[in-house]
Every structure is written in structure tokens, then in C-alpha cells.
């Protein structure tokens, strides 16, 4: 690769421009990007396997910790799938509260993104402003659920905490403040010359490419693809909400900024509707501990795009299989297209523009036996045998270890 004109530089796994470890190998010619190789897998935590070892109730808290920002998205998607298998009919109030928390989460996520995007282009004032406003919504989330992140509001068969009248008032008050501030940001986004010039024409993803590469969420909507699970396949209480799906035709980072800003305004409207139409009644129904055999696929529109959870139950207390497809996995392929023939300096903002969450994305690591002839993929059994073998060779006596473990228990 080291000829005189073309060379490759590694960006990541540890790099100041990235917020999370992920490896990008960039082929460059001068300042121009010829191609990018993305390698995922630095954040693999084995959550899916861990979920199979735990009961459904324990899994809610585990799944919630897939992502710190869209934790409610993951837990709701999982709980929805389990409820579908168990055939539970949820009380309306629970669905409304889920929707409300989901939208509050979207508000905090989009404000966070706006700040990060500002920071990436050297507009740190925007970061300070938006993160100040984000505190308001974080406090509201703490008030309603008991925590600022990992709200722990979902449970199988409803939500764990009810909302009182006083709390609803607080939410409405906060929404008024936030709406006013967001209006200012939209005005800023439309008129601030530095912002418009820095973001326009950067990271272009055409309508056709967005469809071909299966982009989701604000990334797709900024390319004119009208795709939103909340409208296409309404879950929770979205079927009864009145809101618009925001699309833009800019196809660039500027478009993505506008989509997110306008989505904020829609989110405030949905939150107001939730509070206004909040039905009376219980917030939970009794759910069985053992979920009957079956499988379900659940879709959820997370702030970053469509989040898909697949759960397979086998009639016991533990799920047989849990599969998570986070929105970043769908969007990360589009980054390659966005950066082709662009300058290296655009890379941080273009990557930031899909609002990546790499620890959500890293779900699967496939292991290949490099030393064997056919380079087969290792399955669980062979991996286990291999690891026991490897440890034996290191001189670890399993008999002693087992005895020690037994005595400790």
C-alpha cells in the first residue's frame, strides 16, 4: 500500500475523533479519501449470550444496558417481543407512559447529538447551549422514572411507575421552555452561515443509495426516504398520536441536522398529546414467569433509527435466543458511501452525523479456526472445547478449580 501516491491510515480503535472504539482504515490520496474499511467488534460484550442465561425479568435490566442513550428503546423493543409471545394485552395507560418516556428520550438524544455535531465542527458554543437544555429533559426523566439514564420503567406487562398530575404539569412546563429554545436552534440552523456552509454538501447520501444501503432513522429521512416505524408499524400508543414524519431533500449532514431539529418539535407535540390524553387505569397486568414457546420480532423507532429485537422462547423462564439489530449497524455501511471522494477533514462530522453508537452495534463476533484447513466458523461447542484445551495446556487443573468453586459456594 505504501506507494508514492496512495496510502492507508488507521483511524481508531482508539482515536480522539471517535467517541467509542471502532476501527476505520482509510485509503488516502493526498487529502482525498479513496475508500474506507470498517471493522466492528471492539465493543463486543456478549450480551445476547448473557441474556440467554438469565430470566426474562433479569434480561430487561441487561438489555437496557446495551446502550446508555437509547436504553428505553432497547428495553421496550425487548419487552414488546416478550409480551407478543405471551399474548399479553397491555393497559392503555402503560402504553401511553411508554410512549411518553420514549419521546423524552428522543428529545435528550437529539439534543445530545446536536451538541456533539457542533463540537465536531468547532462550534462549541452550540454544545454548551444544547447540553444545558438537555439537563432539563434529564431532570424530567429522573422525576418520572427515578433515574437519569437506564430508567428501568419497563417491565413485562406494563410500566413500573405511574405518573401523577403534578409530574405531568412539570413535564408540560419543561416542554414550553424546550420548545422556545429549539425554535431558536432551528432559526440558527437556517440562518447561521458558518453552520450552513460547513455542513452543506458534506457526507452526501442520495435517495437511491439510502435505499440500497438500507439506511434507517434520521439518516434515511434526510435523504428523502419516508421511513419511520412509528408511522409504518405503530407500536405502543403511536397509532393514536398525531405527528408528521420529517423528511428533507438535502441528502447531506445539513439535512440530517434539520431533520433532527424538526423531529424535536414533533416530539414535544407527541409528549403534550400523551399528557393530555393519558387514560386512567392500571399500569401493569400480571405477567407469567414462564413465557410459552414461540418467537417474535419487535420493531422500535429509536432516536437513531429502527431498532429490531428478535426473541425466541421455549416455554421456560429463560429465552432461548435474543437477537438485537441496533440502528447503527444499518447506518454504518452508508458512511463508506458518504465519504467516498471526500476530504479526510470531513470524516469526524460525517461519522458523527449518523449518530453512531458502536456498543449497540457490536452484537456478533464470528470466530474462525485459522489454524485448521477449511477455516470453519467455530460453534459454541468447539469454542468451549478449545478453551478448556487451551487452559489445560497453560497448566490449569480443572479438578482443583471445581473443588475450590464448590467450597466457596
Amino acid at each position: 500500500m505504501h506507494n508514492s501516491e496512495e496510502f492507508k491510515i488507521p483511524i481508531g480503535p482508539q482515536h480522539p475523533a471517535l467517541k467509542e472504539p471502532e476501527s476505520f482504515s482509510v485509503a488516502l490520496k493526498g487529502e482525498k479519501i479513496l475508500g474506507i474499511e470498517i471493522r466492528l467488534g471492539y465493543n463486543h460484550r456478549g450480551i445476547e449470550k448473557a441474556a440467554e442465561e438469565r430470566t426474562y425479568i433479569q434480561d430487561i435490566y441487561l438489555i437496557e444496558r446495551i446502550c446508555g442513550i437509547c436504553s428505553h428503546s432497547h428495553s421496550t423493543a425487548f419487552v414488546q417481543a416478550v409480551e407478543e409471545i405471551a399474548g399479553l394485552e397491555l393497559p392503555k395507560r402503560a402504553l401511553y407512559i411508554r410512549t411518553l418516556i420514549g419521546e423524552l428520550e428522543r428529545v435528550h438524544s437529539h439534543l445530545l447529538w446536536l451538541g456533539v455535531a457542533g463540537h465536531e465542527i468547532g462550534f462549541d458554543t452550540l454544545l454548551m447551549y444544547t447540553w444545558r437544555d438537555r439537563e432539563i429533559v434529564m431532570d424530567i426523566l429522573a422525576l418520572l422514572t427515578g433515574n437519569r439514564v437506564n430508567y428501568g420503567i419497563n417491565t413485562i406487562g406494563g410500566v413500573r411507575r405511574d405518573i401523577s398530575k403534578e409530574q405531568a404539569e412539570e413535564v408540560l412546563k419543561a416542554m414550553d421552555t424546550l420548545e422556545e429554545r429549539t425554535k431558536y436552534y432551528i432559526e440558527l440552523g437556517l440562518s447561521e452561515t458558518t453552520l450552513v456552509k460547513r455542513l452543506s454538501g458534506v457526507g452526501v447520501l442520495t435517495y437511491d443509495d439510502a435505499l440500497r444501503l438500507d439506511a434507517v432513522g434520521p439518516t434515511a429521512r434526510a435523504s428523502g426516504v419516508k421511513r419511520d416505524v412509528r408511522k409504518d408499524d405503530p407500536y405502543a400508543a403511536y397509532g393514536e398520536m398525531d405527528f408528521k414524519v420529517i423528511t428533507e431533500k438535502n441528502c447531506d449532514v445539513y439535512g440530517r441536522t434539520l431533520v433532527r431539529l424538526k423531529e424535536l418539535m414533533e416530539a414535544y407535540q407527541i409528549i403534550r398529546q400523551c399528557i393530555k390524553n393519558l387514560p386512567e387505569g392500571p399500569v401493569t397486568i400480571k405477567a407469567p414467569r414462564k413465557i410459552p414457546a414461540g418467537e417474535a420480532l419487535s420493531r422500535y423507532e429509536a432516536p437513531r433509527g429502527e431498532d429490531v429485537h428478535y426473541v425466541k422462547a421455549n416455554g421456560t423462564e429463560k429465552p432461548e435466543r435474543v437477537k438485537v439489530r441496533a440502528p447503527t449497524l444499518a447506518n454504518v455501511q452508508a458512511v463508506k458511501q458518504m465519504l467516498k471522494d471526500r476530504f479526510l477533514a470531513d470524516m469526524p462530522i460525517v461519522i458523527a452525523a449518523i449518530d453512531p453508537c458502536f456498543s449497540c452495534t457490536d452484537r456478533l463476533v464470528s470466530l474462525r479456526q485459522v489454524d485448521s484447513k477449511d477455516k470453519k466458523t467455530m460453534n459454541w461447542q468447539t469454542l468451549r472445547e478449545y478453551s478448556i484445551d487451551w487452559h489445560r495446556k497453560q497448566g490449569i487443573d480443572f479438578k482443583k478449580l471445581n473443588q475450590k468453586l464448590k467450597t466457596n459456594v
Partner: protein
């Protein structure tokens, strides 16, 4: 500009002056757990539902139980509070749980200690 700078010098900090001034946690906050040994019937539902295995219920006598809670393992989800049939567990608003000594993170609530500050194991 200069006026702005001068004003900022004499303004009090926007952040909370933490050790002196403490934030009050919201009502639904899930903090340190509190165990009431009188109410416990030893069904161990909390042990079964705890995602991290932070809570252990031991039988110490006839119809007497103690709870050992590992504050380092606890993720403060308060699922045990929901699972408890007799409402023997309760989430408090206590947040300052940092310790210099790792052993102090394991807290035992037994009958003698009751609701008094728990004796540390």
C-alpha cells in the same frame, strides 16, 4: 465584551457547591436498599429476580432472616422491591455509597440491627 467578562468574574458558579450543598433526589429515586427483617418470610423472590445476584437472604433462626446486600454488585434497578411479596425491601434516596474499603460495600441487615444503621460485615 469586557462588561460580560467582568460580570462573569463576580457571578457565583452555575454548578452546585457539592459537599456543602446537596441535591435532593426525586421521590421515585432508586438508591440504597433498606431491608426490614420483621416482614421477610424468606421466599427468596428477590434473590431469584436480582439481575446481578447482589442480594442474599440467609436464615438465621426460626422464622428469622437476614439480608446481605453487595452494594458494589447492585445496579439499583429496584426489581427486588417490586418482587418482594411482603414489602420487606424498600429503595431509599441515599446516594453517597462510596467507600474506601471494599469490605464495607457488603451490608448485612439482621434482626438485631433492624432499621438502625446496619452493621457492616
Amino acid at each position: 465584551m469586557i462588561r460580560e467578562v467582568l460580570r462573569s468574574i463576580f457571578k457565583k458558579p452555575a454548578t452546585n457547591l457539592y459537599p456543602a450543598q446537596k441535591l435532593v433526589m426525586p421521590e421515585k429515586f432508586r438508591g440504597k436498599l433498606k431491608f426490614n427483617p420483621v416482614k421477610c418470610i424468606g421466599c427468596k423472590m428477590c434473590m431469584r429476580d436480582c439481575p446481578t445476584g447482589a442480594i442474599t437472604i440467609n436464615k438465621v433462626g426460626e422464622k428469622k432472616f437476614e439480608a446481605v446486600i453487595d452494594l458494589g454488585k447492585c445496579i439499583y434497578c429496584a426489581q427486588c422491591v417490586d418482587s418482594c411479596l411482603k414489602k420487606a425491601l424498600e429503595a431509599t434516596r441515599e446516594v453517597e455509597l462510596a467507600q474506601q474499603d471494599i469490605k464495607k460495600l457488603k451490608v448485612t441487615y439482621s434482626d438485631e440491627s433492624g432499621n438502625e444503621p446496619p452493621k457492616e460485615a
